[in-house]
Assembly symmetry: C2
Homo-oligomer: 488 residues x 2
């Protein structure tokens, strides 16, 4: 690997001859977290300058699925007659974002979730009062609510299930529709937005406090005085190969879920100013496949073993698959495949079809007898109407009968050109913040004047992930960081 | 969790009124890495002061198994007629210490391995020219050589196997015997050793270069000028709960393999001086059990599935078990148990015994039918004299017949009081060094005057581990750091 070096060493205040511009709060990075911080800082009465390196707003948020993980009784949940509680939401998130989720952040997030829904609602994000009943990634519908694993084992034994995946009315990736409303609000609040402007370094005074920022735009370098604080919302570091190798090598070689600008610049600027980091190895990773298919059959590893509940949020099998002997396969029979509705297969074609399980083992290179015993055990449970290993919902469990077909869950990602391995992901670790976005100093206490949110920070996540929790905690804690920076 | 804070903020040179002592090289931490650095710096002509917080030398190294992973044709290997090569050793380590092992460090380590053996040999470490043939942790013999997974699948397909676990003649934990010779050499080289002396902070000049160290002993604080460099060999951070929570939460709640002083102080001092870190989430973890037993039977998870080669270095099943649905069990039949030699069971008693596999599934709380199918598949392979899933050596493979016994691999650790969970471990990540121990700066380049080795640094390891590679890379790269600090 070539040696990538980057220098985000802070600029000492004493070396700044003059500031080109003075504002209360500087926000760096115009994704959802940055927009949320800017809106709330402005509403708290602060003058806000929002910098974005690219020519348009949105960041990786605008390219995302657009889900917001919200619950506890939102307007959409209530209209659909869905009972939910803060406690159930909190218990689910602690389990699903774990192990080692941040329980304090999750508690606040769950308690504030209905208000956070209303915040988006008030800016015109139009959540339809309809539920997409299936499991999976983004639906190709305008439905406003979806399940994200809450009704799958083992979570069913941990918390009363309720669907909490809220999304704007856009088929597939809805992040653009979400960010359209959010950026309109940023403009309405009078935020000074500067596109094509790349942050170079923080400005720190002799006590180590952050008092400004140096940036570079088309007109050259500019040094901005931030009288109240700087909020880093620059995203994660999946686009920085050196940082991945040092901190999150699980993602090396896989596809990148980003807008191309998630190079960890904000994290590195923070570290250079003395910031502590947290959970730098934590990642989100996904295989592009449909759990609708896997649920009707079984998902097996290269030893012919099942390893995960098939009818859960698809990120769970994706993450598990990354650490299984691979490749992994979706095995289906005709009854299972025929039970799929149009649209649930995403056009997937079997890679192998076989008249017998022995033939399929041979075709897939599985150890002789391994898949036969896995299917026999599965069928013994199915005859009793249950899945004794992973407690898949009985709705999807039926005895598997030859002939069989095997699907490669990575096929769709490869066909789409998004990943040669089938896996794509982004990083979850970053600057170590408190619940108001204050960045901790590595030697104790905080770095005065410095705040962070979104994937530049370590948020609610431990080592698990669910759709909607990155936009969710980025916006929720982005808002808190904006208010804190404004001194509200 | 209570908020642990520690301040290792560096002392600016301008604030040092006077130095109490001046030396060329200061080494912090008197385990094997520190001793190696001190010896080599002294031999290169430098005056060396070696600080140790505890009242005696040795650190965690003295409490370890004492294995040194060495090969490529050592005296012991040659005397036993074992053929080995640098290339085979390198290929094995890249695989066994991976994924994501440091290939540059492994290459140098393998190339220098015979010379490194001779370095220990010359100081009187008495490696016997006898081979312990079995697999497992430290033997209760004086044998000088042992296997550490080289002859187990999949490594047999990656590199020509040779035993490379070298150890001094001491039954069980041999780290004390090793350190006895090493500390005698430190004394013989005229190193200024200061026990009961705890490092408090680095002293840095106005350019950020490390020029000394402040420490505290019985006589109060002392500030030492290091004209050539400071070498941090303070160990990892398994004894620091806050650092574990932030960086390596997999070890939270488990036993600690340390002398009680592995609190990450050196890593934090380095970070506070601008150092970069690497692989802070990487860990070693072990279950106290014998692979001699597991090899004669099977190791299964809480779903009744096998998940690992049983006859490999026991750290491999240990690490795998940490991420399996637990508890895990060793299942044996009478033929397997009776084939064990005295000493191979470590006195282990079955937790459950059952006349039938169905009864055993019930006793262990395994899903109905799960273990039955696992044993049936295993027996089909055994009838062919093979293990199609994990390619365990055919020597150990036989058809498993009722009655069965189940052993809990965590029992011995719990009985010894070393861990309530059965798992114990230590951290592998730390300061980001080059092959000469120079500590990288987070903003690029290096921190002048600062070196690190041993578990205070990120060494050869990716996310795998083999006995002897921590003492091995600690001493090998400790020597290089000592020479580099001395300006050799």
């Amino acid at each position: 690997m070539t040696e990538q070096t980057s220098s985000y060493a802070p600029v000492p205040l004493a070396e700044v001859e003059q500031f080109d511009h003075t504002t209360d709060v500087v926000v760096v990075g115009y994704g959802l977290a940055g927009a949320a911080a800017a809106i709330e800082a402005a509403r708290a009465g602060a003058s806000v300058t929002l910098l974005e390196r690219f020519s348009g707003p949105g960041g990786s948020s605008a390219q995302s699925g657009g889900e917001l993980y919200l619950g506890g009784g939102t307007r959409v949940q209530k209209a659909l007659g869905i009972e939910d509680s803060v406690e159930a939401m909190e218990a689910y998130l602690v389990a699903a974002l774990g192990p080692h989720a941040d329980e304090e952040k999750i508690r606040l997030y769950s308690q504030g979730s209905v208000e956070h829904f209303d915040w988006f609602d008030a800016m015109g994000v139009d959540f339809h009062e309809t539920l997409w009943e299936s499991t999976g990634w983004m639906p190709f519908t305008n439905d406003g609510l979806m399940w994200l694993g809450e009704n799958a084992w083992p979570y069913t034994e941990i918390a009363t299930p309720a669907p909490r995946g809220h999304r704007p009315p856009a088929p597939g990736f809805a992040g653009g529709a979400l960010m359209e409303k959010v950026t309109a609000t940023v403009e309405a609040e009078g935020v000074d937005v500067r596109l094509d402007t790349r942050a170079l370094a923080l400005v720190v005074d002799e006590t180590g406090a952050v008092v400004g920022l140096r940036a570079k735009g088309f007109a050259g370098e500019t040094t901005i005085r931030a009288t109240k604080g700087v909020v880093l919302t620059t995203g994660g570091f999946v686009d920085n190969e050196r940082m991945l190798a040092d901190h999150a090598p699980d993602l090396l070689g896989h596809g990148k879920v980003s807008d191309g600008g998630d190079d960890g610049s904000g994290i590195e600027m923070g570290i250079a100013a003395g910031a502590a980091t947290r959970r730098m190895s934590a990642i989100e990773v996904s295989l592009t496949f449909t759990t609708a298919m896997a649920s009707r059959g079984i998902l097996v590893n290269a030893l012919g073993q099942r390893f995960v509940t098939e009818d859960t949020y698809p990120g769970v099998p994706s993450h598990a698959a990354l650490h299984q002997p691979g490749p992994v396969w979706v095995i289906m029979d005709e009854e299972g495949f025929d039970s799929l509705s149009t649209g649930e297969t995403w056009g997937a074609q079997p890679k192998h079809a076989a008249e017998t399980v022995e033939e399929l083992e041979s075709d897939l290179g599985l150890p002789a007898g391994s898949l036969a015993h896995t299917i026999a055990l599965y069928n013994e449970g199915a005859a009793r109407g249950e899945d004794p290993l992973f407690h898949k919902n009985a709705t999807w469990v039926h005895e598997l009968k030859a002939p069989f077909a095997a699907f490669d869950p990575a096929d769709m990602a490869r066909a789409a050109g998004s990943s040669t391995t089938g896996f794509s992901g982004f990083t979850l670790g970053g600057l170590h913040t408190d619940v108001d976005g204050r960045v901790r100093r590595s030697t104790g206490g905080f770095v005065p004047g410095l705040y962070a949110a979104g994937r530049a920070a370590s948020g609610m996540h431990g080592y698990g992930y669910v759709s909607g929790t990155s936009l969710g905690d980025g916006s929720f804690f982005g808002r808190r960081a904006g208010r804190a920076a404004a001194g509200a």
